[in-house]
């Protein structure tokens, strides 16, 4: 059973459909007992970092996520991945979950001004470090991104990245905690295969 964390941020329709399509059971929840009972956790998210962390706190989920992260596989997707890091510089400075060392910073400040923000669309994902998450993934396959901020100072955790004026960490890992900056649930077959590999870890 995969617990998909529901804290009132974003649309979970495609994510839960993709898990179902792959044949994995999931529950959309903000309940402590369901999160404790699950084998794996997915933390989705879209929108602004500060708001999302605030909502996570209001839902009383920060503690349990930090505690469960060491015990079972956890996957953060898009903003959910960014929240795994120490802090974000999106509209001020906000503390993250601190599960992966690194900072979330505006992409616009580190790339050429002529490049469009958000980094949106299909981009190739290049493997940097091999990992079981790539069990069904071919190096260089494309994944679908939509984001304006990206993770920095996290080199030791990067498993794969994409080039967009700067190297954008696409897939990161520390211990049992994974993060995907792109949307695996919108990345066609390649995305589904990454989700499948996560669900099988």
């Amino acid at each position: 059973m995969i617990a998909v964390i529901d804290y009132g941020v974003g649309n979970l329709f495609s994510l839960t459909c993709s898990l179902e399509f792959l044949g994995f059971e999931s529950v959309v929840t903000n309940k402590r007992e369901e999160i404790l009972a699950a084998d794996k956790i997915i933390l989705p998210g879209v929108g602004a970092f500060g708001d999302a962390m605030e909502k996570l706190k209001e839902a009383g989920l920060v503690g349990i996520l930090r505690e469960q992260a060491g015990a079972k596989p956890l996957l953060g997707i898009c903003l959910g991945m960014q929240m795994l890091f120490d802090k974000s510089l999106e509209f001020g400075e906000h503390e993250g979950l601190g599960l992966i060392p690194g900072v979330v910073a505006p992409l616009s400040e580190d790339i050429d001004k002529s490049m469009k923000i958000p980094h949106m669309g299909w981009n190739r994902l290049d493997i940097v470090k091999d990992d079981p998450i790539f069990k069904y993934f071919k190096d260089g396959e494309a994944v679908y991104y939509v984001h304006s901020y990206y993770a920095k100072d996290c080199e030791e955790s990067v498993l794969a990245g994409s080039e967009y004026g700067a190297t954008v960490p696409g897939l990161v890992r520390r211990g049992l905690t994974y993060g995907m900056q792109f949307h695996p649930e919108k990345s066609g077959g390649a995305g589904l295969r990454l989700l499948k590999a996560f669900a099988e870890i």
């Binding site: 649309n11 329709f13 495609s14 459909c17 993709s18 179902e20 399509f21 879209v46 929108g47 469009k116 958000p118 980094h119 949106m120 669309g121 299909w122 981009n123 190739r124 396959e141 494309a142 679908y144 991104y145 939509v146 080039e163 967009y164 649930e185 919108k186 990345s187 066609g188 077959g189 390649a190 995305g191 589904l192």
Partner: protein, 252 residues
């Protein structure tokens, strides 16, 4: 660098795809879910669904269709047709749409772009423009290309971007359905004044038209319906051809 996108567009009326479809013996109607599956398997980068039904029942059916498509097609989905309010945005986003395309609704109420961008983010708001030359000027048409609004297309594109639209779909009425190639002149004119992604629509007749299109740096995607539905051009063949032509496309 992000890949140039190829986007098939499905016009859905009363729960069926219409417009020159020759699928599996069906002359002019096809099952949207089946077509979406076909496009998904052939490597389309995104799908666009336009709801061209007028009745309330038709709209309800469209919602069901959308949910059915979104539950098994895992590439970005854009939905348009009759979007006039934030409630309309909400309705289609909850069914699995990733982007919502506004046209007549935004002409009537430009603030819809601003409000939607504020609530859902710019990446979610697509400004679709139907444009035709009138007395040497690019004019925006509403109501499915039937009504000349007298809005200047160049000004409208700029305004759309400043209100928060995250992408523009430029449909040339002059080249639409003619299959003589995209309207490069119109695309250049609009591409010069906005910086958000630009999707070209109207006029695709063969693979070479896409190669010509992507010579324009400013164009991010090519959208077509007829030539894909009739299987005159297959998405996979098109992308392999474009790749050989040096266009940066995603080939699975």
């Amino acid at each position: 660098m992000v890949y140039k996108r190829i986007i098939p567009c499905l016009d859905v009326k009363n729960g069926r795809v219409v417009k020159g479809v020759k699928f599996e013996g069906l002359r002019d109607l096809a099952d949207p879910v089946e077509m979406a599956r076909y496009y998904n398997e052939s490597g389309a980068d995104e799908l666009v669904f336009y709801d061209i039904t007028a009745s309330f029942e038709g709209r309800k059916l469209f919602t069901d269709v959308l949910r059915a498509v979104a539950s098994e097609i895992f590439i970005p989905l854009t939905v348009g047709g009759g979007i006039e309010s934030l409630e309309d945005f909400d309705r289609v986003l909850k069914c699995g749409a990733d982007k919502v395309s506004v046209n007549s609704g935004a002409i009537k109420n430009p603030n819809l772009i601003y409000e939607a961008a504020k609530r859902y983010g710019s990446q979610c708001v697509v400004l679709s423009m139907d444009v035709k030359r009138v007395d040497g000027r690019f004019c925006v048409f509403a109501k499915g290309g039937r009504l000349n609004t007298d809005l200047d297309a160049i000004e409208w594109a700029k305004r759309g971007e400043s209100l928060g639209a995250g992408e523009i779909v430029l449909n040339s009425i002059d080249t639409d359905g003619v299959r003589g190639g995209f309207d490069l002149e119109m695309l250049r004119a609009v591409g010069d004044v906005v910086t958000i992604p630009l999707v070209a629509s109207g006029g695709a007749g063969c693979m070479e038209d896409f190669a010509e299109l992507f010579k324009l740096d400013r164009v991010d995607a090519g959208l077509a319906a007829g030539i894909f539905h009739t299987k005159k051009v297959g998405i996979r063949e098109l992308k392999e051809y474009l790749k050989r032509q040096g266009v940066h496309v995603r080939v699975e």
